[in-house]
């Protein structure tokens, strides 16, 4: 066992070398600090929870309601010990496929002292799990993991107290392991957790101002006592996904249910003047046409009937008098010419204007990133059941709690008569923060008084899902005679006005189509780079612009995996590369110099960890120092490598891409990827590796292929032909993921567990662009790098 007062070796080296001023002791205290306080026991909870526990989860038995919120201040809300000496954990999170559910079991079983295999976890259903907000912000482990650990530790403490009473032995004289408490002085005296409390309630009240601060009396274990954390048990959700036995949200079938399909406006902003029910009334299985405002849907007995009826329903739409948006070709000119709806106060360091005036060289560049969609593989879907005067929605909504609140308001129902049963679904990544189909199914179910299943078409999903905002970013940088970066001026514009939130009523398309409007739309945001570069003179300005149509628009902006990060980092880390090239410096050395230009650090050692991470990526890749571009290859295939780095919250990543550019077709193939990744304590290294690999490839798809294209009235990229995506042939032949902070034992770190997932999306596009430059000497400044665009750039450069 290592000494756990040490930070990881890679960080330690940096700290020692740099004699950082931050106190390590202070850092360790801060990172491990827990507020513990004592609460009285005995507040009774609902019996629903016990019923749900016995039923083995939230889905099968469809309790009649109402559905009050589980009380997060009750230990029984979180942990149940069963008569067979197993445990169930109840957490208010949703697993989007990165394995957080398995990680929660690892963390909680460690704290409870029960075998991982003897546990299971119930997630994200509003009536049986405490409201932890569902998923978002890659905070499941970083934030929500703490109350989970604390409540599991508290359950262990209570069990030890019960055993103490039973044996007449002080708690200090007891040992808990694998859900059995034994007397240290006489190990033959044992009691299982089941014998102590199996199928009975703890009736222990916790303390905490909110769900994130929930705590009992017990403290969590020091990291060296954790057994499952740092190991890689297989994800528990995978077998059922592989053998076809999993019941997904798309699979739920109820007696008497009907199928609905939406009919969307043919052009954005169109007004529904009427429809001809006779055009579908005689179709087999026809049930009803439902229209409200500009929302139009048709309901049939069978799914294929609803699809056909939606296709055949004749409706009279009136196009808007004014074009709802510029074409995607004209988008950036429009954005640059528009008067911002809001501008941030520039973040200022030094005097960038003066520094630019005295700079030996000034570099300027414009970067452009289009609207990009989620385009989930499975279009939006939900089933709503209005039985017993309640409303139950079976949904893959990542933010099921928000959806419950939003639907209750939308339908004017009491919150406790609405519940969302969370089930697995296609990748969410922010899409279901505006869970259109859930609201639609609930509305239609209430209208019809029958269970209604809604599923969007491919074209509807690709056109009308929420979008990551387009960016136009101007950068200026100044180098002195020695090639030192002395000025950095960042100015970003994002088409992000009326950015939608988290399942509030106005976020969803159905409610917008029915006329819901906010008096003051969300102002949106254009973010700034997240790096630790020490640049003496710097200005960072951001602006938001609006398109003409902001409601009922297919260009509805919302959170797309690491919101704004890929766009911003593409520009900033490409530009750092441009400056390195202008200075004749190696791109890794240029970045390290900027990182090492200050000794100031934050409480999480982010500067030191940035240095360690950039170094680790370069080492794993086998980076040979030299400036970019490299001398041009002579053959048809041009090869190069590029690096980019960023952080998100306390998670730091550096990524290197190695590309092949086909000079005859313009096709870019990323042959190899390296990611050095530091997210603090790692719960499940193998699950982390896969999340990192897939997150990088998602960004690679955005780098090479993805763009929402539109004319001035509708989206044109609506399927997998018109909206290409990464495919098998694009896959790198090698991906290396280097977990910088101890992987996993024996060098187990004592950094807290930070978030993982979204951070890797930030630098990837820039790494690819920098590699293309290294290979070709041509700088691509507009995403995506589709073959025709790269080829045109190569030809323009005379290659």
């Amino acid at each position: 066992m290592t000494d756990f007062t040490e930070v990881p070796r890679s960080i330690e080296d940096v700290l020692n070398a740099r004699e950082t001023l931050t106190s390590r002791r202070e850092f360790l205290q801060r990172s491990g600090a827990l507020v513990v306080s004592f609460g009285a026991a005995g507040v009774p909870g609902g019996d629903l929870l016990a019923a749900a526990v016995q039923a083995g989860g939230p889905t099968p038995d469809r309790i009649a309601g109402p559905y009050p919120d589980p009380d997060y201040l009750q230990l029984d809300t979180w942990v149940a010990i069963h008569a067979d000496n197993t445990a169930t954990f109840f957490v208010g999170k949703t697993d989007l496929g990165q394995g957080t559910g398995t990680a929660f079991r690892q963390m909680m079983s460690d704290e409870l002292d029960i075998a991982f295999e003897a546990t299971r976890v119930v997630m994200g259903s509003t009536d049986v799990t405490p409201d932890q907000g569902g998923s978002g912000g890659s905070d499941a482990i970083q934030t929500d993991g703490w109350p989970m650990r604390r409540v599991a530790a508290e359950a262990r403490r209570i069990l030890l107290e019960m055993a103490s009473e039973r044996f007449g032995v002080p708690v200090e004289g007891l040992h808990a392991e694998d859900a059995v408490v034994s007397v240290r002085s006489d190990p033959s005296r044992t009691a299982t957790y089941a014998e102590l409390i199996g199928d009975r309630r703890f009736n222990v009240t916790l303390t905490g101002r909110n769900v994130n601060s929930v705590s009992g009396v017990a403290e969590v274990k020091p990291v060296q006592d954790l057994r499952m954390v740092g190991r890689s048990p297989q994800r528990h959700d995978i077998p059922a996904k592989v053998d076809g036995s999993l019941e997904w949200a798309v699979d739920v079938r109820l007696p008497g249910m009907v199928h609905a399909r939406n009919v969307r406006p043919p052009v954005a902003g169109a007004t529904l003047r009427g429809y001809d029910e006779a055009s579908v009334r005689d179709l087999p299985g026809f049930v009803r046409v439902v229209a409200r405002g500009n929302y139009l849907a048709v309901v049939c007995e069978r799914e294929e009937q609803a699809i056909e009826a939606a296709r055949r329903l004749e409706a009279d739409w009136e196009a808007p008098s004014r074009a709802p948006f510029p074409t995607s070709d004209d988008l950036y000119a429009y954005m640059r010419g528009a008067t911002p709806t809001s501008s941030s106060d520039p973040a200022l360091v030094g005097d960038p204007d003066a520094a630019l005036r005295r700079a030996a060289r000034v570099i300027e560049a414009d970067y452009e990133v289009p609207f990009q969609g989620h385009t989930a593989l499975g279009p939006a879907h939900a089933l709503a059941d209005p039985s017993d005067g309640q409303m139950t929605i079976y949904s893959n909504d990542m933010k099921s709690y928000g959806m419950r609140n939003g639907i209750a308001e939308f339908l004017d129902m009491p919150r406790d008569q609405v519940r969302v049963v969370w089930m697995e679904g296609p990748q969410a990544f922010g899409r279901t923060a505006a869970d259109d189909a859930g609201f639609e199914a609930a509305f239609l179910a209430k209208e019809l008084g029958r269970p209604v299943r809604v599923q969007w078409s491919r074209e509807e999903e690709s056109a009308w899902d929420t979008k990551g905002p387009a960016f136009a970013i101007r950068l200026r940088g100044g180098l002195d005679e020695g090639g030192e970066l002395i000025a950095f001026d960042y100015d970003a514009r994002a088409a992000d006005y009326n950015h939608v939130g988290y399942n509030e009523v106005e976020t969803v398309l159905i409610s917008q189509l029915m006329g819901t409007r906010l008096d003051t739309p969300n102002q949106g945001r254009a973010a700034t780079p997240s790096e630790m570069y020490a640049i003496p003179n710097r200005r960072m300005s951001t602006h938001v612009v609006r398109l003409p149509l902001i409601w009922e628009t297919p260009l509805r902006t919302g959170n797309l995996r690491d919101p704004n990060g890929p766009q911003v980092t593409f520009a900033s880390e490409s530009f750092i590369d441009e400056l390195a090239a202008a200075a004749g410096a190696d791109p890794v050395a240029f970045r390290l110099k900027l990182l090492e230009g200050s000794t100031e650090d934050d409480g999480g050692f982010k500067r030191a960890r940035s240095i360690a991470t950039v170094r680790a990526a370069a080492e794993a890749y086998g980076w040979d120092p030299r400036p970019s571009p490299k001398p041009l290859d002579t053959g048809r295939t041009l090869t190069g490598r590029g690096i980019a780095y960023a952080y998100r919250s306390q998670t730091v990543v550096a990524e290197i891409a190695e590309v092949e550019v086909d000079r005859e077709t313009g096709r870019v193939w990323v042959r190899r990827l390296v990611c050095a990744h530091d997210c603090g304590l790692v719960i499940n290294p193998e699950a982390l590796r896969r999340a990192v690999e897939c997150g990088m490839l998602h960004s690679l798809s955005r780098a090479l292929h993805e763009e929402v294209q539109f004319d001035d009235e509708k989206v044109l990229s609506v399927d997998w032909v018109t909206h290409p995506s990464l495919r098998h042939r694009d896959t790198p032949e090698r991906i290396d993921v280097v977990i910088v902070n101890g992987d996993p034992n024996p060098e187990r770190p004592d950094l807290p567990h930070y978030g993982a997932g979204e951070t890797v999306c930030k630098p990837l596009i820039a790494a690819v662009a920098n590699a293309i430059f290294d290979a070709t000497g041509v700088r691509v400044r507009r995403v995506p790098f589709r073959p025709e665009r790269v080829l045109a750039a190569l030809q323009e450069a005379g290659l």
Partner: protein, 164 residues
């Protein structure tokens, strides 16, 4: 509506549907199967893939009345609960993220390996090219196919060949 008889996973089923109904909806809504899923309805993504007489087929564009042969769905790969080597490799490699597309990945890979038990990297890339994954699990999918191929050839995984 009319009666259509289908052989699915070794069992004969007769359903009363409009014969133009796409096979996907019959498998899901009449037979209650969960493996094939709707992704696009256009035959572009592969989420609905089933194997008909050894050929990976997009059930979302297949007319039910035209189906003549034996249909195998994801569930049919392990009829007695014994997982197919492809499914085992998927678990060993921990391939899925959300998993929604994996029916298409697994069924396409199964048909590929039945046709070509020892595919090259290039043959895997080409053979899988039309199976989309939006979580981008391709790297592990390809590793799992190699692992499954090694298992099927040798009866046990060859560590050297499947290591990545």
């Amino acid at each position: 509506m009319s009666l259509v008889t289908l052989r699915v996973n070794g069992t004969e089923h007769t359903v009363d549907v409009d014969p133009s109904t796409r096979l996907l909806y019959v498998l899901r809504n009449d037979l209650g199967l969960r493996g094939p899923r709707f992704g696009c309805g256009l035959g572009q993504c592969g989420a609905c893939t089933v194997i008909i007489d050894g050929v990976a087929t997009r059930s979302c564009t297949t007319l039910t009345s035209r189906v003549q042969g034996e249909i195998t769905t994801l569930e049919g790969l392990s009829p007695d609960g014994d997982l197919d080597p492809v499914q085992l490799a998927w678990i060993e490699e921990q391939v899925p993220q959300c998993g929604f597309c994996q029916n298409g990945q697994i069924m396409t890979a199964k048909a590929l390996l039945d046709r070509n038990p020892d595919p090259t990297d290039e043959e895997i890339r080409t053979g899988m090219q039309r199976a989309l994954c939006r979580c981008m699990t391709y790297y592990r999918v390809q590793a799992a196919i190699k692992r499954a191929a090694a298992t099927m050839r040798q009866g046990a995984p060859d560590a050297e060949e499947t290591a990545r």
